[in-house]
């Protein structure tokens, strides 16, 4: 059985605890990448990370991108969506196709 974790600042992710997900509070993106690295070694299937902290943790995220687990998924934090998660989707399109063919009109 795998576990689901949520990493972010307290305001953004406190509520997930009530649903039975594991919440890990981070102070900044450095802290978040450390937690991310630690959790990736254990059996977490999905790790949700707030966009705000994802900004400074790109290389850690990239490291686990080609593995099946953990799936690191960006979610908007308390401050609302920053559009980083969406950009990650268009980036994978770019990687596959060589050019961004789906999101051109938006960004």
């Amino acid at each position: 059985m795998y576990k689901i974790a949520v990493i972010g600042d307290k305001d953004s992710i406190l509520g997930f605890g009530a649903l039975g997900l594991e919440t890990h509070f981070a102070k900044d993106s450095m802290d978040a990448s450390q937690i991310l690295n630690r959790l990736a070694k254990e059996n977490y299937g999905v790790i949700y990370l707030t966009e705000e902290y994802a900004l400074g943790a790109e290389n850690v995220i990239a490291r686990y991108q080609d593995q099946m687990t953990p799936a690191i998924i960006l979610i908007p934090g308390a401050k609302g969506s920053l559009g980083i998660g969406m950009r990650a989707v268009s980036k994978s399109v770019e990687r596959a196709v060589g050019a961004d063919i789906l999101f051109k009109d938006q960004s």
Binding site: M1, Y2, K3, I4, K10, D11, S12, L14, G15, F16, G17, A18, L19, G20, L21, G45, V46, Y48, Q65, D66, M68, T69, A71, I73, I75, P76, G77, A78, G80, S81, G85, M86, A88, V89, S92, V93, R95, A96, V97, G98, L102, F103
Partner: protein, 221 residues
């Protein structure tokens, strides 16, 4: 024009021709694989995009109600209220094979099936805003998992497509032209040898004929 460093012999020519044939077949197969992967990938990405917009919208709604809850309750009160959840979520992963790329399928199970188990606190000490916030979150959880599934699939497929595309290009623009050029140059060299041989034979024949004519004349005199 890049000719490989091989001996221009008939054996080598035969070997190269066989290699070219294999390369062409491989190229065709890989191209088909790439096209099909791309088709699947674009479908997943489209789904992913819709899911993400929805999840982001719902999550920000949940965050807004959470903000309201924080305004009406102290931080400590909220923390103590949800410190000990009544349910835990266990995730099980199965894999699905898309064009020989293994992508995960997530499904989760809650240890407590009671729908009220998402509220691990007494209602006396908390406000209804907190209930609303947590209700919104639990509402979006399933979609978040779907999102994780499709996003991971998209990433894994993107990696595979990139690799396949590189292989196709390497075959199309390097391997196959190189093999063609080498085959051509070997054929030309062999033909040249053949022509040289024929001229030599003709020359030798000429010389022999001349010799015989001279001998004939000498005999007559």
């Amino acid at each position: 024009m890049a000719v490989m460093n091989v001996n221009p012999t008939r054996m080598e020519l035969k070997r190269l021709k066989k290699r070219l044939e294999t390369a062409q077949r491989g190229h065709k197969l890989l191209k088909d694989k790439r096209d099909e992967l791309m088709k699947q990938f674009l479908e997943i990405v489209k789904e992913n995009r819709i899911l993400r917009t929805e999840v982001e919208e719902r999550l920000s709604r949940a965050n807004k109600s959470f903000l309201l809850a924080r305004a009406s309750l102290s931080g400590e009160a909220i923390e103590t209220a949800i410190l000990y959840p009544l349910q835990t979520a266990a995730l099980s992963i199965t894999t699905k094979n898309i064009m020989s790329v293994n992508v995960p399928r997530f499904s989760y199970e809650l240890s407590n099936s009671d729908p009220s188990a998402i509220y691990p606190y007494g209602f006396a000490a908390t406000s209804s805003e907190l209930d609303a916030a947590i209700y919104h979150l639990s509402d979006v959880l399933e979609r978040m998992l779907k999102l994780a599934e499709s996003e991971k699939s998209a990433q894994l497929l993107a990696q595979e497509i990139e690799r396949t595309r590189r292989r196709v290009n390497a075959l199309e623009y390097v391997m196959i032209p190189d093999l063609r050029d080498t085959i051509k140059s070997i054929t030309m060299k062999l033909e040249e040898n053949e022509r040289g041989n024929i001229t030599r034979l003709m020359k030798v024949k000429d010389m022999m004929v001349k010799q015989q004519i001279e001998q004939h004349r000498a005999n007559e005199e």
